[in-house]
Point group: C2
Chain length 210, copies 2
DNA sequence: CTACATTTGTGAAGTTTTTCACAAACAGCG
DNA sequence: CGCTGTTTGTGAAAAACTTCACAAATGTAG
């Protein structure tokens, strides 16, 4: 039933969940058609995506909003909270730390690290910026499962290795390099330059074909 | 020769370009094999990707690094500079504005807008934060082609429409909503919550199958 | 209880993307 | 020059993903 799930399916599941969250009327139901209309996809795609994980709709009716929401959370692994370590208290790090949507989804920043002596000791909300010297130690102690790397590319590989060594289960990487870590530790890369390039490509392509 | 290019191909082209940039020896050549090793893909994939846009390798030798780099820039539409308007001088907006890699790739921030009266008039580098009141006017005057939306979801649709109205050619959108704009204006969404969810999904999935 | 109007879940068909495999092109060398 | 060892470019095969289409459920109305 649940084997190799396409990455595109996972992205759509996130969309579905977001759609459902902006959807009051807890008792109601929603059809694959309606759900498809909110994301830009098709009803068949919605049903196929969900069918990878079981069948939790009622024929003739659709999906119970409450239940589907809960089921999606479970599938995406956010029916619990995640202990997150933020590495790099720079500009991106700050933006992420302050972003309420993460907390709301169960991503809980429990430690912040930065190599800059001027930043170590700074108070960020309830957290204090710590030195990378105590990285592994703190990750272990606080049981950190996810790490966000918001540090320069030159430091990313080393910190990734140290994070893996300390038992971290996954890495969200903002540095523009490909991390080399054991395959059991998933890495999700965020590369904003690439997004901009996709955009200028799309524009240029349209102009070329015009 | 150049028709409908897969989005995945575009992403890989960005990777190839980045690999080549961290590659001195301007006179040298590189084979599809070597290029594949740097991104995590295959030699055949590299060749197929490039073949969409013509054939600019030499059999038996590989690709001339200089030429390939230039060709990739041209394909991605960054063999020129782009005039970018930043909408939202908040935390994400600041991080992006300060990010040198954008400038380096030819993305030139020529105007900043924010609705917060406290921010209007603030100096950011050579720019001054402007009021949304003069949005269309300034976009037109400065010939802004790309807009980065780093504003709350509640304001994003309106500003997107106004940007399109003012002749903008593409939108990079950080707000977690799906913008409704004419199809001639490409929109690239960045959704960090989704990236985290992909990560926790991957971890949970691995655990389930364990 | 039966006919009816929906809407799911899912094989099968269709489409897109990746991988394979090999002829054609090229440099180097004897 | 012709032979050799590479490496490209590309049809064809394979795999992955999406769309189609319809039987099976399910609530509703009569
Ligand atoms: N700012 C952006 O818009 C942006 C966009 C895309 C990607 N990125 C990438 O994100 C990363 C961070 O960017 P930024 O703009 O926040 O940079 P930044 O310079 O503002 O912050 C980086 C921080 O990391 C700290 N640091 C360096 N080495 C460290 C280590 N070993 N351990 C802990 N902390 C360490 C530095 O002291 C600094 O405070 C970079 O890789 C950058 O390429 C940034
Ligand atoms: N901070 C993050 O890490 C993060 C991550 C992912 C997505 N986002 C998204 O990016 C967007 C911005 O996030 P942020 O954290 O920078 O928020 P922020 O509140 O720090 O900044 C938003 C800024 O936009 C301004 N603004 C509001 N309406 C405007 C308008 N009509 N025109 C111009 N400016 C306007 C506000 O005055 C504010 O300065 C939000 O949609 C958020 O969901 C943020």
């Amino acid at each position: 039933m649940t084997r190799k799930i396409p990455q595109s399916t996972v992205r759509r599941l996130s969309h579905y969940l977001r759609s459902l969250e902006g959807f009051e009327g807890s008792g109601g139901t929603i059809s694959s058609e309606e759900l498809a209309a909110r994301g830009q996809t098709t009803a068949a795609q919605v049903r196929k995506d969900l069918s990878h994980f079981g069948s939790f709709g009622k024929r003739g009716l659709g999906y119970q909003v409450d239940e589907l929401r809960a089921r999606l959370r479970q599938i995406l692994g956010i029916d619990r909270s995640w202990r997150v370590g933020l590495v790099g208290a720079g500009r991106i790090g700050l933006a992420l730390f302050d972003y309420p949507a993460f907390q709301a989804r169960g991503y809980d920043c429990v430690a912040i690290f930065d190599a800059d002596p001027a930043k170590i000791g700074e108070a960020w909300g309830e957290q204090t910026v710590r030195s990378p010297d105590v990285f592994e130690e703190v990750l272990r102690e606080l049981d950190v499962e996810l790490v966000i790397l918001a540090i320069p590319a030159s430091a990313a590989q080393e910190m990734a290795e140290r994070a893996v060594e300390a038992g971290v289960k996954g890495i969200l990487n903002f540095a523009p390099i490909r991390l080399n870590v054991p395959p059991k530790v998933p890495v999700q890369d965020v590369n904003l330059v690439m997004e901009l390039e996709a955009l200028s490509f799309a524009i240029s392509q349209a102009e070329r074909n015009a």
